[in-house]
């Protein structure tokens, strides 16, 4: 008898649990995005505004850009919101994404120990990287195929340096997200390449400060795309499109611009600006 009751209770708990996500929120989309947008707190700021307007719950899975695109490719997200122009273009070209729009940008900075042993401080990112390599100063890299990692590699290339030669020595790939990489850099007083948003919301800075910023080459463009419903028919295209439209609307762009940490604006909406330019 007691056992029967226990079994019944267990069965009920189980059904209740499994049914829960479906019942709790039917009106939602999954957005594969990057750690920089999530960790910086941007989504925490803009998503409630979008939800209040449309009733749509946006579920953000924050990954590196490479992983986010892979998630979307498998059809496990409705919308991708990332920052790696080259990879995004390829994604659209292969037919996985539709209607790519440039939404906003932030900028990258190079952080490093306050003492700055490589004397990198200034505006010129390429020169800074060259000095780090020349001085064999420790440098912590994401090494995770994320948008930031891809950007970092482009700058090394522009500086005509193959950082792989320093692997195991001064060049250290953490193979993890921006935050963990900054934790590593902080722990060993290494230089690191990071987006400003993550840096501003990052608390465990230790000896690290911003050393290189303001180089126009360091702008970091974010793009948003709908996952192609032709490839994955279950994609919630209406709601996904609604989200993309809102991000690029005057209201969405204003919401992005309004997000600040310590009085600093983190993301600069540029969808409209681009339209005008085009």
């Amino acid at each position: 008898m007691v056992k029967n009751i226990a079994h019944a209770a267990a069965a009920m708990a189980l059904t209740g649990m499994l049914a829960m996500p479906a019942m709790a929120q039917d009106k939602f989309i999954v957005v594969a995005s990057t750690t920089s947008t999530q960790d910086s707190g941007l989504f925490g700021h803009i998503l409630p505004i979008f939800k209040a307007k449309t009733g749509i719950d946006v579920r953000v899975v924050a990954q590196g850009t490479g992983q986010a695109l892979a998630t979307a490719k498998k059809g496990d997200a409705d919308v991708v919101f990332v920052h790696d122009k080259v990879a995004e273009a390829k994604f659209v070209e292969e037919g996985f994404g539709l209607d790519r729009r440039e939404v906003m940008y932030n900028d990258f900075v190079i952080v490093g120990p306050k003492a700055d042993p490589a004397k990198t401080a200034g505006k010129d990112a390429i020169a800074a990287l060259k000095k780090i390599e020349a001085g064999k100063q420790p440098f912590a890299s994401r090494g995770d195929k994320s948008g930031t990692h891809a950007a970092e590699l482009r700058y090394w290339k522009a500086a005509d340096i193959d950082p792989q030669t320093g692997k195991g020595g001064w060049y250290r790939e953490t193979g993890s997200g921006m935050g963990p990489t900054l934790n590593t850099a902080s722990a060993m007083s290494a230089y690191a390449f990071t987006d400003r948003g993550t840096w501003l919301s990052f608390k465990n800075r230790g000896e690290l400060v911003i050393l290189v910023e303001g180089d126009t080459k360091l702008f970091n463009q974010y793009g948003v795309m709908l996952v192609n419903p032709a490839k994955h028919p279950h994609v919630k295209k209406e709601m996904g499109q609604q989200f993309i439209d809102w991000l690029t609307s005057a209201e969405g762009q204003a919401a992005i611009a309004a997000y600040k940490i310590e009085g600093q604006q983190l993301f600069f909406p540029n969808y409209v600006a681009l339209r005008k330019a085009a």
Binding site: A10, A13, L14, M17, L18, M20, P21, Q25, F28, V30, T35, D39, F43, G44, D57, R59, V60, V61, A62, K73, K74, G75, D76, S176, G177, M178, G179, P180, L182, N183, S186, S201, F202, K203, N204, R205, H232, H234
Partner: protein
């Protein structure tokens, strides 16, 4: 090193203030791991008992594999479940990825071998003691299994708790299949990982303290029930 004392006081104030966000996350952790342990135990109890009593060629090999799988890396389990549940995978049509249900499945898979292996050990030891008596009473294999499971119930609580502890403390699997979505699939461990990556180490550690406290309280409660019951039933 002031982070550690800072974390403890932060943990205390989080608990004391019944922070709504924390309650939601802790609640989800308990629900996901609770259902996972229930599912895993429902399968592992009969299977472990069966393996304890059955004799067949290759049994030692099966036991070795089962014992080995007690140490399954959560990331690998997570990846496996991810590939199964992904829209591109065989079970994609269920649309379960990035939901608590997916986390339940991953954790259940992760802890099933732990519970089954411990159950097998407990029941096999008990079988040594009860075997002749049960056979003398003409118990069938199935009846013997049920009788042993029932008689060892207090010891088996420990096996189930071991599974629960593993489930609620793991981050690798739930991170991958849950996606750490705020308000939907964020549990204690993924929240800790997130705060760590934000560099908010005191908050991360405070959440860790809360998690450990939860696990300890649950174990204390189970231990208390077990002690009382054993005193009552011998």
């Amino acid at each position: 090193m002031q982070e550690i004392p800072q974390s403890f006081s932060l943990a205390l104030s989080l608990i004391a203030s019944l922070d709504a966000n924390l309650l939601a996350i802790a609640g989800l952790s308990l629900r996901v791991s609770g259902v996972a342990v229930l599912l895993a135990a429902l399968l592992a109890l009969p299977l472990g008992a069966w393996l304890a009593l059955a004799r067949f060629p290759g049994r030692q090999g099966v036991i070795a594999v089962l014992n080995g799988m007690m140490g399954l890396p959560p990331v690998v389990v997570g990846l496996l479940v991810y590939l199964l549940l992904s829209r591109a995978g065989p079970l994609g049509s269920l649309g379960m990825l990035f939901t608590p249900s997916a986390m339940v499945v991953a954790q259940a898979l992760l802890i099933f071998p732990i519970i089954a292996a411990l159950v097998r050990q407990v029941i096999e030891d008990a079988w040594g003691e009860y075997r002749e008596q049960l056979l003398s009473l003409n118990a069938s294999r199935g009846q013997a299994m049920m009788a042993l499971l029932f008689d060892m119930r207090f010891t088996l609580i420990t096996a189930v708790l071991a599974g629960f502890g593993r489930a609620i403390a793991e981050v690798g699997a739930v991170m991958i299949v849950g996606g750490n979505i705020d308000g939907v699939t964020r549990v204690m461990t993924t929240a800790i990982a997130l705060e760590t990556s934000k560099g908010d180490l005191p908050l991360a550690l405070a959440l860790g303290v809360v998690l450990i406290a939860m696990v300890v309280v649950i174990n204390l409660a189970a231990q208390g029930i077990k002690t009382l019951a054993m005193r009552k039933h011998g």
